[in-house]
Every structure is written in structure tokens, then in C-alpha cells.
């Protein structure tokens, strides 16, 4: 599903956010991406998503090269990916419902389908009664859950979530993670960047650890951190 070959990302101001990363994530895997703040987790995700282009190396997503991809093919790449952004990226002048519906409109879904599916996912993240509110009227956790709902609504083949539980309490976090596991069981590849040690340690899934831009650990049934 995702292949990184010796990928480096140096930002124009000289920060080396990712250095020589090589990794392979197969279809149907469930992967945690961990590492201290500033380790390069979001950068790695932005590269998959083609929000940034790598300085060096080659990246394949779903068998296609990100680097050689034409500009007009980028939307198709993004539509395959359900993405939860660390900073949410909700449309400020649209309601919760419209924000989620927008992701469906983008892939050409019809009004009936939208009317059926959107309340479904809002229910799932516990925001059914918030459907007509605007992002600025929501609590931090509620905004985060809207972002999650939007990522799920199109049943993507690849789900990427950048710190999806940073603003959520434990119970809600577990609900979300359990749902991620469920869609993973149904075949969706899941990649989660997180600091939630408790969750990572409980689930014992594959863990990729970054530190200062380098992949320092990649183990199946891993934990958040080895005792140091």
C-alpha cells in the first residue's frame, strides 16, 4: 500500500524533518507511528498525502509514484485516503453536516446517499446533535471528531490519522480507536500517528518509531516505548 525508499525531507529553512526513511506498509495493516514532538510524524504523513514533496527518495502509494504523479491526479490519490489532520482543517463557514458532506460531494456522491451516510458517521463519533453547528461553536474534542467523521465517511481504502485523540478523553478515544480497528478488520489499511501510550501499549499492533527524522524502530506487536 505504502512504500518509502530512502526518503528525506528537508524544509527550505534547513530543518531535516525526515532522513533516509525506508518503510513498507502492506494493504490491511494497522500501524502506529510514534515519536517525540517534532520527530517527523506529520511530515511523513504529509508526504504520503502529497501535501509536501520529498527532497530525496521515492514514494509509492497504492502502487503509484507520488513524485511522478501529475498535478491533476493528486485529487484522486487524496480521495482514496481518509485523512484526520492534526489541526482538523474544517471548513469554517460550513456546519458539521456540510463539512462531512463535502467530502462525499467531492467524490461525486448523490444527495440521497449523502443524506443517509452523513448522519450515520456523525452518530458514530457522537455528534449527531451537533450536525447544524459551525466548527467555531464546537469544543476541541468535538472538532476533532468532525475531522474523524469526514475521514471515515467515504469508506477509504487507507485511513491516516494524525494525533486523532489529542483532544479526546479516554473513553471517547477508545471508542474511536475501536472503530478504527473494526474498519481495519474489514480491509482498510490504518496508519495512526499518536502520543497515546496507553492505547499503543494495549493494542500491540505494528509500531514505527521516529526520532529526529529517522526511523529508529519498526516492530510488529510493538509498544509505545521500550524502557530506557
Amino acid at each position: 500500500m505504502i512504500q518509502f525508499f530512502n526518503v528525506s525531507k528537508f524544509y527550505p529553512n534547513g530543518v531535516k524533518a525526515l532522513v533516509g526513511a525506508t518503510l513498507h506498509i502492506e494493504k490491511g495493516e494497522f500501524v502506529f507511528l510514534v515519536g517525540p514532538s517534532g520527530a517527523g510524524k506529520s511530515t511523513l504523513i504529509k508526504l504520503i498525502f502529497r501535501e509536501e514533496l520529498p527532497t530525496k527518495g521515492q514514494i509509492y502509494v497504492g502502487g503509484r509514484s507520488i513524485i511522478r504523479m501529475k498535478r491533476r491526479d493528486v485529487p484522486h490519490l487524496r480521495r482514496q485516503i481518509g485523512m484526520v489532520f492534526q489541526d482538523f482543517r474544517l471548513l469554517p463557514d460550513r456546519t458539521v453536516f456540510e463539512n462531512v458532506a463535502f467530502a462525499m460531494q467531492v467524490v461525486g456522491a448523490g444527495p440521497q446517499e449523502i443524506k443517509r451516510r452523513v448522519p450515520e458517521v456523525l452518530e458514530l463519533v457522537g455528534l449527531k446533535e451537533r450536525a447544524q453547528m459551525y466548527p467555531r461553536q464546537l469544543s476541541g474534542g468535538e472538532q476533532q471528531r468532525v475531522a474523524i467523521a469526514r475521514a471515515l465517511v467515504n469508506k477509504p481504502t487507507l485511513l491516516i490519522a494524525d494525533e486523532p485523540t489529542g483532544n479526546l478523553d479516554m473513553d471517547t478515544s477508545w471508542e474511536i480507536i475501536n472503530y478504527f480497528q473494526e474498519i481495519n478488520r474489514r480491509g482498510t489499511t490504518v496508519l495512526i500517528a499518536t502520543h497515546a501510550r496507553e492505547i499503543v501499549d494495549t493494542l500491540r499492533q505494528r509500531v514505527i518509531a521516529l526520532d529526529r527524522g529517522r526511523v529508529v524502530r519498526d516492530e510488529h506487536q510493538g509498544v509505545y516505548a521500550h524502557a530506557t
Binding site: F49, E51, R72, P75, H76, L77, R78, R79, I81, M83, F85, R89, L90, L91, P92, D93, F102, A103, Q105, V106, V107, G108, G110, P111, R150
Partner: protein
Amino acid sequence: MLMQLRMALYVFQEAFRSLRRNGWLNFAAAGTTAVSLFVLGIAVLLVVNTNYISKTVESNVEIMAYLDRGLDQNDLKAIRTQIEATPGVKEVRFISKEEALATLAKRFGKESKLKESLGGTNPLPDAFRIRMSEPRQVASAAASINRLPGVEKVRYGQGVVEKMFKLTAWIRLISMVVMGLLGVCSVFLIATTIRLTMFARRREISIMKWVGATDWFVRWPFLLEGMILGAAGALVAVAVLGFSYSALTGKLQEVLAFLPVVRDYRVLIHLFEGLFTAGIGLGLVGSFISVHRYLRV
């Protein structure tokens, strides 16, 4: 087919949703468009009218051809035919020496007794008064008429007419230049405002791209919105302009019946159509260019 229809529906819904929700931004864009087109419209009306007035003034230029004495009716007829054949001549009128003397006597007043003091003789010649359809040819026409046998002398206010032509040419030039400048200014203002409104919504545009929207999917509603705002602004400008112009010229013609102003509704409708089209076009092109800058994510 279903997709196309759905897309069209989406575009309209989105455009109207955005019009409803971005009240203040829309007001700024439509207001600026209205003001700019209004200013441009004033400039165009000034140009049209100075042109029209210049033309009217110019076409009042006339040539007097004074004739030799002792010509008979046949001679006069021959001369008249020849004058009428001169290029640019519109109208020829014969002014007998008696008519000329009567006019002159009237100018001195009844008391001056010009006719009596002349003792029956009339020192004035017969003449043709010639109106031009093409005032710019007055000099060449006068020269060729002067060469006709039987024409003693030709007068057309030499000097003054040339000056007048120069003046009207300059007035035209200046008003065209002013109009051109105002046109450029309008375009700048409208483009700037649309760019500013897009700037205020740049994050929105990039979020759409991040969620997987194609460029056109993002662009279409903005284009429609831009068109609608441009049209709304243009409509306001045209309405205010049309109303105040017709009120003003109406009043003007009452008070100054002799002043030629354009009241030909075809010309005005043409102008207003132009402004309206310009409004829509500017809105469209403006949003196209502006949204473009924020699509590259």
C-alpha cells in the same frame, strides 16, 4: 449525464450558500464593482457626449461662396450643380444680394437707414451658403469651389474652423484618455477586491483541495459567485447611472434646449449592456485568477 446534472446543481447550491454566508465579503466585492463601473460609466457618457457635441458644433461649419456680378439663372444653376457635386457637401442654399442686404440692415437696426443712404445701389454680391456633411473636408471643398468659374471668393472662417477642429480633436483625445485610465482603474479595483476576498478565504480553498476536490470542483462555485457578484454590482451601477443620466439630461434639455446631448436610447442601452457584460466578465475572470493562486496545494 446524472453526474453533470448533479455537478451543476452542486455548483449553484454552493454559490448561493456562499453568497448567503459571506455577507460582508460579498458586499465589498459587489460594491466595488458597482462603484468602479459607475465611474467608468460616467467617463463613457462624458466621452459619448463630448463626441456628440463636437460633432454637432463641427457640422455647423458653413462655406460662403460669393459670386461674380451679372450671372444669369443658367450660370447660377450650373454653379450650384457643380458645388453640389463637390465631395462632402450636404446642402446648398442661394442667398441673393437683396436677402444679404436685408440681413445687414437688420443688424444695424431700423434707425440706421442703411438702404436709403446707399441710394438704391446694393454693394453686396450674390452668394451660396454651403453646409458640409463631412466638416473635415471644408478646407478642400472651399478650395475647389473657389476654382469654379463665376465664384469670386470663398469664406468659411478660415483659421477659426481649423482651431475648432483642433480643439474638438483634443477634447476627444483627452476624454478618451481619461476614459481609458478610468477603465484601467476599474479593472484594477475590481481585481484587487476579488483577490482580497479570496485571500480571506484562502484556507477554505486549500482545505477543499486537501479533502480531494479537483481544481474545477473548487473553482466552479467561486466562478459562478464571482459572476453573480459582478452582475449585481453592474446592475446597481447601470441603474443608478441610467436613472441619474436620464433625469439630468431631461432637465438639461428643458433648460438648455440648444445644447446637444445624447438621448438616443439605443446608444445608452448599448453602453449599459457593455457595462453589464464587463461586470460579469470581470467577476468571472477576477475569481478565476484569484482562486487559482490558492489551488496549488
